[in-house]
């Protein structure tokens, strides 16, 4: 039972790699401290614009270095394969940014429904029922947020080609 209650978790693959990269970036940021912040001869020390960025970057560098030094001797495997898995995450960042790019052009409703279906297909769903469910989820999201809650998302440029009678309706609601 005691082991179950131990809140300390063993280090997961990739943690050391991440902290080393984090430490290196922090050191670079510390080197930029003088260039990127100001310290005037007048004024109190704690009111200087440089103080809190310094607390941040020096703390980042010091703590991450301490983490690395404390655990560097531990034998570990799977760091590189984990790093490749992080790269797979980049694909979904790209999907997200394509979605962001398309909404003001194609319109929130069409983009969301298409995005949800394509992404569901991409992650392995092939059954028609699941793909319809993905499209329906996208439609429901638009309905709840834009139509009912009225969140500020501009109408798509494509809506300009709609007949005048329904153009405003689409711009306002979808």
């Amino acid at each position: 039972m005691a082991d179950k209650l131990d809140v300390q978790e063993p280090e997961k693959p990739g943690a050391m790699l991440f902290m080393i990269a984090f430490c290196l970036i922090s050191v670079v940021l510390v080197l930029y401290l003088g260039d990127q912040t100001k310290f005037s001869a007048k004024g109190k020390f704690f009111a200087q614009p440089r103080v809190w960025p310094a607390v941040g970057v020096i703390g980042m560098a010091a703590f991450s270095a301490a983490y690395v030094l404390q655990r560097i001797r531990v034998q570990r495997t799977g760091e590189i394969s984990e790093a490749f898995l992080w790269l797979r995450g980049l694909e979904y960042v790209a999907w997200f940014m394509i979605y962001v790019w398309a909404v003001p052009r194609v319109g929130y409703l069409p983009t969301t429904v298409i995005f949800a279906i394509i992404l569901a297909f991409r992650v392995g769903y092939r059954e028609t029922r699941t793909l319809i469910a993905a499209g329906a989820t996208g439609f429901a999201i638009v309905l709840v947020f834009k139509t009912f809650l009225g969140v500020k998302i501009p109408g798509g440029a494509i809506y300009e080609y709609l007949p005048t009678t329904i153009r405003n309706f689409f711009i306002l609601n979808f």
């Binding site: 990739g14 809650l149 969140v151 998302i153």
Partner: protein, 496 residues
């Protein structure tokens, strides 16, 4: 009486009640889905609440915050997978009970313990409100700085075994908060001459990236799974009768939740672990803990549900969020120019009491909903994880883009999404970043204000006329004690 009537009049609006119902029912559903959690839901809904009245937006978010843990107990008990991270301890005793054919008993006990914890905490805080109103004015800039510092210190030290990583990430949060135009001297900080960095990095963009987008990426990248559940047969009222037989455990655990919830940076995990170990140590059958002990289940659920109302205390009284969810709620206050802090307790006590009454109502609403719809919720648990990922990514767009229709915000959020994904994969903590951002900003502003009146270090604790500042002294002593205790613990571990 006038205060109560005034508070009730704030709540007696159809939109507030609708927000309460939608928030609490939505919170239970979200909590029941492993892999979503209240943080993701609140992050996505935050921008949508900005167009609502503060009390409407806050009751909706409070609904999610206060009810998600009820829902999280269902998969924890039935399929050994906590719906929210704070239901992890519930699996220790809840799932063995299900394996022994006592799933209904376990679910019923979890509901009744959660309800007891929630109501206990709210009643404690309503009774404490006048005391807090008296203490709150004693918090000036110096005290708020020290309280924020204590909060960040506790957040870092609470990550046992990962203290250095938590420290580095908290400092990262402090640094992010300083990017952009500095508000006093108007000098640029870490903008690298990029105009899109001049305005700084919005907390909500970071929150959405770190919590929502990262979770979506995680679910999309990892193997797809769809948990299978068995329906629960029979009524779920018996747990209340059984809870009466464990009054002591329920009360002590709820009290842990209240105390730990009030301390910034501590929260549900510590409350749960402390109440669980206390319950185990004082139990007549400690050998049953981890194998289906009703006391274990009660201690875990009562403690975690007592935390949300208590966590509102440092937020409302001092403007200091104790964890990520209250940090998100703080932004709702700021958007509506409602500044939490001592003045809120002094001048708008009816608003504070209204929030507590809302929490009280939501606990009743959630319990009624759960008693009659548990089997319906089991269907939600079965949604495949990658499908959830698609939904969260689609929802995350609404959250970020609706802020100011900025593709740059979306790119920043996506960047933080990838960052959060890596942190989640590597098991490194995310919460210190958010608290570093929020508390770092508070510390900078308050220290600067304090320093106008402080000539030498002792002035921090003594007024110029010689009067002591008792709260500042107590906070400083607590900070020293916390650091000393941590160092002592480390030295003991080394010796062992």
């Amino acid at each position: 009486m006038d205060l109560l009537l005034s508070s009730l009049s704030i709540l007696a609006r159809w939109d507030v009640l609708a927000a309460l119902i939608i928030g609490s029912v939505g919170g239970v559903i979200i909590g029941a889905i492993p892999g979503v959690g209240a943080a993701v839901a609140i992050a996505i809904l935050l921008p949508a609440t900005f167009s609502l009245d503060p009390i409407v937006g806050l009751t909706a978010l409070l609904g999610i915050y206060g009810s998600s843990m009820y829902g999280g107990a269902i998969p924890a008990v039935l399929i050994n997978t906590p719906g929210t991270a704070v239901n992890a301890l519930t699996t220790y005793d809840g799932y063995p009970m299900t394996q022994a054919g006592e799933g209904r008993r376990a679910i019923s006990l979890a509901y009744s313990a959660s309800f007891f914890g929630g109501i206990f905490a709210i009643l404690c805080l309503i009774l404490l409100a006048p005391v807090l109103a008296a203490i709150a004015p004693m918090f000036g800039s110096r005290e708020i700085f020290l309280a924020a510092f204590l909060g960040i210190l506790l957040v870092v030290l609470a990550h046992r075994g990962q203290t250095f990583a938590a420290g580095a990430l908290a400092c990262f949060g402090i640094w992010i908060n300083t990017i952009g135009l500095e508000p006093i001297a108007y000098s640029k900080r870490y903008t690298f001459d990029q105009s899109w960095l001049s305005g700084g990095i919005d907390l909500i963009v970071v929150v959405l990236g770190l919590f929502a987008i990262s979770q979506a990426i995680l679910l999309l990248v990892e193997k797809d799974s769809a948990p299978k559940t068995e329906p629960v047969h029979g009524a779920l009222f018996q747990g209340f009768r059984e809870l009466l037989g464990h009054k002591r455990v329920a009360t002590i655990s709820s009290a842990y939740g209240v105390v730990m919830g009030m301390i910034p940076g501590v929260g549900e995990f510590t409350a749960q672990f402390m109440s669980y170990t206390t319950a185990m140590r004082t139990s007549k059958a400690p050998e049953k803990f981890g194998k289906g002990s009703p006391e274990g289940l009660i201690s875990s659920e009562a403690a975690n549900n007592a935390v949300p109302p208590a966590a509102m205390i440092p937020l409302l009284a001092l403007g200091i969020p104790g964890e990520a969810l209250t940090a998100m709620m703080l932004s709702v206050f700021y958007v509506h120019n409602v500044v939490p802090g001592p003045n809120l307790f002094q001048n708008e006590m009816d608003f504070v009491v209204a929030l507590y009454i809302a929490l009280l109502i939501l606990n009743v609403l959630v319990l009624v909903f759960l008693l009659f719809s548990t089997n319906l919720l089991l269907k939600v648990i079965e949604v495949p994880t990658r499908f959830l990922g698609v939904t969260i990514l689609t929802l995350a767009f609404v959250g970020v883009y609706s802020l100011r229709n900025s593709a740059t915000d979306c790119a920043i959020a996506a960047g933080f999404g990838l960052f959060g994904f890596i942190l989640k994969r590597t098991g490194l903590p995310i919460v210190p970043i958010i608290l570093g951002m929020v508390l770092g900003g508070i510390m900078e502003a308050k220290l600067r204000t304090s320093m106008n009146r402080v000539k030498e270090p002792l002035d921090f604790f003594v007024e110029r006329n010689g009067d002591l500042r008792p709260v500042a002294i107590v906070l400083a002593i607590v900070i020293v004690l916390v650091v000393a205790t941590h160092i002592r613990g480390l030295m003991k571990e080394r010796k062992a």
